[in-house]
Amino acid sequence: MKQLLNTLYVMTQGAYLTLDHETVKVEVEGKTQLQVPLHHLGAIFTMGNVMMSPFLMHRCTENGKAVVFLNMNGQFLARVVGKTTGNVLLRQAQYVAASDANKAASIAKNIVAAKLQNSRQILLRGAREIENTGIEAGLRQAATSLSDALINLKKSGTIDETRGLEGISANAYFQVFDTMVKENRETFIMKSRNRRPPRDPMNALLSFIYTLLLNDCVSAAEGVGLDPQVGFLHAIRPGRPSLGLDLMEELRSILADRLALTLINLKQITEKDFEEREGGAVYLNEGGRKAVVVAYQKRKQDEFTHPLLEEKVPFGLIPHVQARLLARHLRGDMEEYIPVLYS
């Protein structure tokens, strides 16, 4: 089993990262703030004005460590990509599967089924934990509409039907999502899911966590030698990491949504962690981003028993495990792609 390697996040503006023998050195204003042996790291994320020496970039690409540049808001800007490696036969199998409507639809269907099931679990958990009977009823109703969609999904054949069911279910889910908020309810009210730019704190928080998760999913796809741009559920579009998005679908609710609720309900994130920009866009500020990243990294270390492997896996490794299962299916070693189900 792959080891869950740590990610170094550098958010201090003006920091400079260099390679010092086998370590990464982070300097701020000429002073060494941290020195980490490279063997502990799987990825380096930088946000905003952070510099990195070419030698460090060289070493990271040689050793397959992801280097990702995000802007101050945590939006993805660039990834340092090394040589095209991995198994070309696997990628070819991926392309063939993507252009085979039946095969693509079956993978997409399994992904959406897991997404619905996992979202349902989050709603039911929310319903169990809430005391207000009106809200509880709303959550249970939304959960029921997701299970109805699951039944319809079984009957659906084409990928468009699958996408349609996913869209309807996502609406039902986000309509009741903010009723699971117990603290600072007036701040975290959410009319609907919106992005680019997010228009309220809840959307800003979700978008930020999704960015972190998406980068992990893209790295996972690349790690097993899959092309992160060629997806099944998400249509292929230039510049879009469709497979990364596919891998993320089943994990959104359990890794990102639940984390957002926990952060709010434990008051680790409050209204002072956000700032509004001109034009109505809302983003996390520096303190908010740090709090979220810490919580996300901690969450990745929590373990859960993978239903298929029947062994304990840290949450942070699930994207890798799932990418490997997908690769197995694409190579023909496994009848179906089996997504991860959370219970």
Partner: protein, 96 residues
């Protein structure tokens, strides 16, 4: 696993000072300095072998002393820290 590396390198000669620098660097590649010539390293078996080989290459067995201690896990139950120089945990969130 957690390994404590400690060393004494004679610094009377220029050669010795060179060895000291190189030993310290070899340790830095695998862990962190917790005292002047004490390093804590969290490594797997293969990394430990590499670390040991690198260090043995650097020291002069007639002049210097090198010691490895394996920490009993869990580390936190067996390590007490006082004073300055707190340990950074490289497997906890690393955010700067």
């Amino acid at each position: 696993m957690w390994v404590i590396v400690t060393y004494d390198v004679t610094t009377e000669t220029k050669e010795g000072r060179r060895r000291l620098r190189r030993v310290a660097q070899a340790c830095k590649n695998f862990g962190q300095r917790v005292q002047k010539s004490v390093f804590e390293c969290s490594v797997d078996q293969a990394q430990f072998e590499t670390l040991r080989r690198n260090l043995l290459k650097e020291i002069d067995v007639k002049e210097d002393s090198l010691r490895f201690y394996r920490l009993q896990e869990p580390r936190d139950a067996h390590v007490e820290e006082h004073g300055v120089n707190r340990t950074v945990f490289f497997d906890e969130p690393l955010i700067i």
